[in-house]
C-alpha cells in the first residue's frame, strides 16, 4: 500500500523551494535506503526550480505549486502540480547531459533535466486545462 508521506504547497519563490526540500529531507529521516533521499531531493529540486524559473516566471504570488509524495514499496512516487504555462512542445525537454568541452566553453546550465533523467523513473507529463502535472518515481538503487 502506498503511504502519503509528504504533501505541501510551495510558493513561487526559490527560498520556499529550499524550505520544501529541507522539509522533505526531514520527512525521509529514518526512511532512507541506499541514498534514496539524496537522489529524490536532487530530482525534486530540479523539477521545482524549473517550474519557478520557467512555468511560473513573472507570475509572482499567483504561481502555485503542490507536491505530493507516496512511499510505495521500495521507492518514492511523486506528483508535482503547478498552474504555470505548459512545457514547450507539451513534453519534458531532452534529458541529455551537456557536453563538456574546453574551459571557456563549459556549460553553466542545462544539467537540471539531465539529472532528472538519470535519477528518476517513469517520468510522465500531463497538461490539464490550466495545470501541469508531472509524475515520477525514485527507486532504491540496486
Amino acid at each position: 500500500m502506498a503511504e502519503l508521506i509528504f504533501d505541501t504547497d510551495v510558493d513561487n519563490d526559490p527560498h520556499d523551494v529550499r524550505r520544501a526540500l529541507i522539509d522533505f529531507r526531514a520527512t525521509m529521516r529514518g526512511r532512507d535506503r541506499g541514498g534514496l533521499t539524496g537522489s529524490a531531493e536532487t530530482v525534486l529540486a530540479e523539477v521545482l526550480n524549473n517550474i519557478v524559473e520557467h512555468a511560473l516566471a513573472g507570475r509572482g504570488q499567483d504561481g502555485a505549486i503542490h507536491v505530493r509524495c507516496h512511499l510505495e514499496g521500495a521507492g518514492l512516487c511523486f506528483e508535482v502540480v503547478d498552474n504555470g504555462i505548459p512545457l514547450p512542445g507539451g513534453e519534458c525537454p531532452a534529458r541529455t547531459m551537456p557536453e563538456l568541452g574546453k574551459l571557456e566553453d563549459l556549460p553553466e546550465g542545462g544539467f537540471g533535466w539531465a539529472l532528472v533523467g538519470i535519477l528518476a523513473s517513469d517520468l510522465e507529463y500531463q497538461r490539464d486545462r490550466h495545470e501541469n502535472r508531472l509524475r515520477f518515481r525514485l527507486l532504491v538503487p540496486d
Partner: protein
Amino acid sequence: MELSKRELDGVLIVTVNESRIDSAVAIRFKDMMRQLTENGPERVVLDLAHVDFIDSSGLGAIVGAMKLLGADRRLDLSGLRDNVAKVFTLTRMDRVFRIHMSLSDALGG
C-alpha cells in the same frame, strides 16, 4: 550566503559556510566568488565540507566561478560530501575539477 577566505602557503582557500548552494543563492555565490578571488594566488581551493546539498544552479555557479579565474589560474574543490559528490559525478564535472578528499589533502597534494 556566507563565504570566507584565507591564504595558506600561497593558496587561496575559500570556505562555504552554508549547507546549501542552490538556486536561491547561486547568483550571489558567483558574485561573491568573483570578489573574493579577484586578485591573489594562482591556485584557489573551494572547500565544500559544510555543504550537503547542491543543485544544477549551484553547480553552474561553481563552473562560472572557475571560468572567471581564466586559463592561468585554477579552482580545485575539497571536502565534497556524498550528495554533492554525486552531482559532480553524474554531470561528469568530476573530470573537470581536481577534487580532493579534504582541505588538508588539497594543500598537501
